[in-house]
Symmetry: C2
Subunit: 341 residues, 2 copies
DNA sequence: ATTTAGCACTCGATAAGCATGAGTGCTAAC
DNA sequence: GTTAGCACTCATGCTTATCGAGTGCTAAAT
């Protein structure tokens, strides 16, 4: 529906604006080598593009700026594959070369690298561990009334929680309980634990109802504490953007970034594959001036976490998408290999 | 060396500036009920105070602003005890009423409350665990080559690390090793662990040199990962301050706050008791426009962590100091009681 | 039928000029 | 020692003028 020339011009305008942050005028475009038309022609096309809703004019005598619709078209149709530089590729490779790291640590570094490479804010959601299988449960009594319960998954993740002990329970009894749990539940995927606990063990555990509940809760917690899986890096990068040189404009954004639970609704598992949310397309008011690009990474083909970038609508979409894809792929490969061992 | 009247005036100026953020003029002071002098008199005194270095003038025809030296005198001599409101006290009580929380969690909430009550940025350094005693060591093999080592302290803290297993070690052998470690090292304070490992066990562990090293490293890590003990809340509060309405002014500060390792040098164990760093007194350039108030909290009388507040030099010193003292005391009491069980 | 040169027009941004007023420093009187 | 009075300073805000990047439109050129 847009002519080739219109697409070419829209592309040129978006490209230019992404790098200059200034409204783009017709002359600027006509001077580009790949465009063989006078500024007057460009002006006419720009006028049409504005009427169609792809461009906006801050004021009458200014150049044009892409609208959300304009960016959307750019992202969906015009974006050209971006090649990473040697140094950038190197950093990525290095990240995944590290051995002997918990998956959470890898994810944390991923956020760091992501922000460094793109100069935008990185938001990463650590992997779900539903699919991980139980390797070991341990209850270590600390004194007469308290103990710490520990759950180890087959991937080496360790979750722990302080629990209250019922009155007068003995060390022997705790040991028996733990042995029972380990015997019955080892190699059970975490998402089945709840159910299996009720099904198989409740009968034998009537004496231990209290710990039973506590343990259930621990398992639950280790599965549901989503805020704790959010990694944020480079939050202040937004301050480098010329369109956010005003404290009032960034305040809401930075406050949002501080609340990890809110971030979940921004980046939380919204389906697999790459998603681009541009400006107004975002639900939260605080980031209607921003774009968010996310993609999922997976474990054995099943999406378990997200990596994402938050930047101004005027974002280097091409580069960010490339980097995100690389990282998501690397993470998936790494997790999967670790998981399968 | 300052006359009573000078002190009174300095006090009035600082108080006023803290709340208004505007340079304070002589008339404003003379109008205050507790001051019975004309603006001319005040002017003369202000002129003297400026000459002595306690006040500064942004420009000739503006009011006066306290200098670092002025704040220093205010903090050291003039500050009046601040009473907390019911609601504020309530929040503090509630915080320490929570049971069954890991000390780290309490510390995290502390940071939250601190920032909420003061409207400044809270920086809290979680407790050292040198003094904690070893309760349990566990090594859970995940496959032929990897295992996860877990250390539990008598306070319920759990540290874990992925380790590589030496070729061809059997489950039985691991179990023997763990039993040996538990037998010899239970109830040993963590700071002694290193030494004790070498002294008592190295002989019997010649076969296991590799894990030996790994375990040492785990212990080391759990003792030295200081960045991970830094809790930051309310970083964006600084954006509410009128003197920081300029992005360039806040950028450096926020970037500093993002780097937890740097924060350590700001808040890190700088001796026990209350410390106030005012403006220029700070080492780091980024926060020479800020003041930092810290105090330590302790375990059985020994300082083990810090709570701190970062705000503009124009800070409500009285209130912040009161809140910090309350929190540090509460934390100390809580930790100590938990420790002693 | 396109494309382009030319030109009048718009409007934000910048600078200059000016009035305002908060605040000072100084002097002389109390 | 204190204060009233007054001239002086300087940031702030307002108005006006200038500048120039960029547009839209028209008419000529292709």
């Amino acid at each position: 529906m847009l002519s080739d020339r219109q697409q070419m011009i829209l592309n040129a305008i978006v490209d230019n604006y992404i790098h200059s942050a200034e409204p783009v005028g017709s002359r600027t475009i006509s001077k580009r080598e790949d465009i063989g038309f006078s500024s007057a022609t460009i002006r006419n096309e720009m006028s049409d593009l504005e009427e169609l809703g792809y461009l906006e004019q801050p004021h009458t005598s200014a150049g044009r700026v892409p609208s959300t619709k304009g960016y959307r078209f750019y992202v969906d149709n015009l974006i050209q594959p971006h090649l990473l530089e040697e140094a950038e590729l190197g950093k990525l490779k290095q990240l995944f070369a590290e051995r002997i790291l918990h998956s959470e640590q890898v994810v944390e570094y991923t956020a760091q690298i992501l922000s460094q490479l793109t100069n935008y804010t990185a938001i990463v959601l650590g992997p779900e561990i539903f699919e991980h299988r139980l390797k070991h449960i341990q209850i270590v009594p600390l004194n007469e009334t308290q103990a710490v319960a520990i759950v180890v998954t087959h991937t080496g993740r360790v979750e722990n929680k302080l629990i209250d002990l019922p009155e007068g329970i003995g060390a022997g009894e705790i040991e028996r309980l733990v042995n029972l749990l380990n015997g019955k539940l080892t190699d059970v995927p975490l998402w089945q634990l709840r159910q299996r606990l009720y099904q198989e063990i409740s009968g034998e555990m009537q004496r231990h109802t209290e710990q039973y509940e506590e343990i259930l809760q621990l398992l639950n917690n280790s599965l549901t504490q989503e805020e704790e899986r959010v990694y944020l890096r480079g939050a202040t990068k937004i301050l480098n953007q010329p369109e956010f040189r005003d404290v009032d404009k960034v305040k809401d954004i930075l406050e949002l970034l501080e609340q990890h639970d809110q971030l979940l609704s921004v980046i939380g598992m919204q389906g697999d594959g790459l998603t681009v949310r541009i400006g107004q397309e975002n639900q939260l008011d605080a980031i209607k001036q921003c774009s968010i690009i996310t993609t999922s990474y997976s474990l054995g083909g099943k999406p378990v976490g997200m990596v994402g970038i938050l930047g101004p609508t005027r974002m280097e979409y091409g580069k960010v998408i490339t980097v995100l894809n690389h990282l998501a792929e690397g993470l998936s490969r790494m997790l999967t290999s670790q998981f399968e061992k």
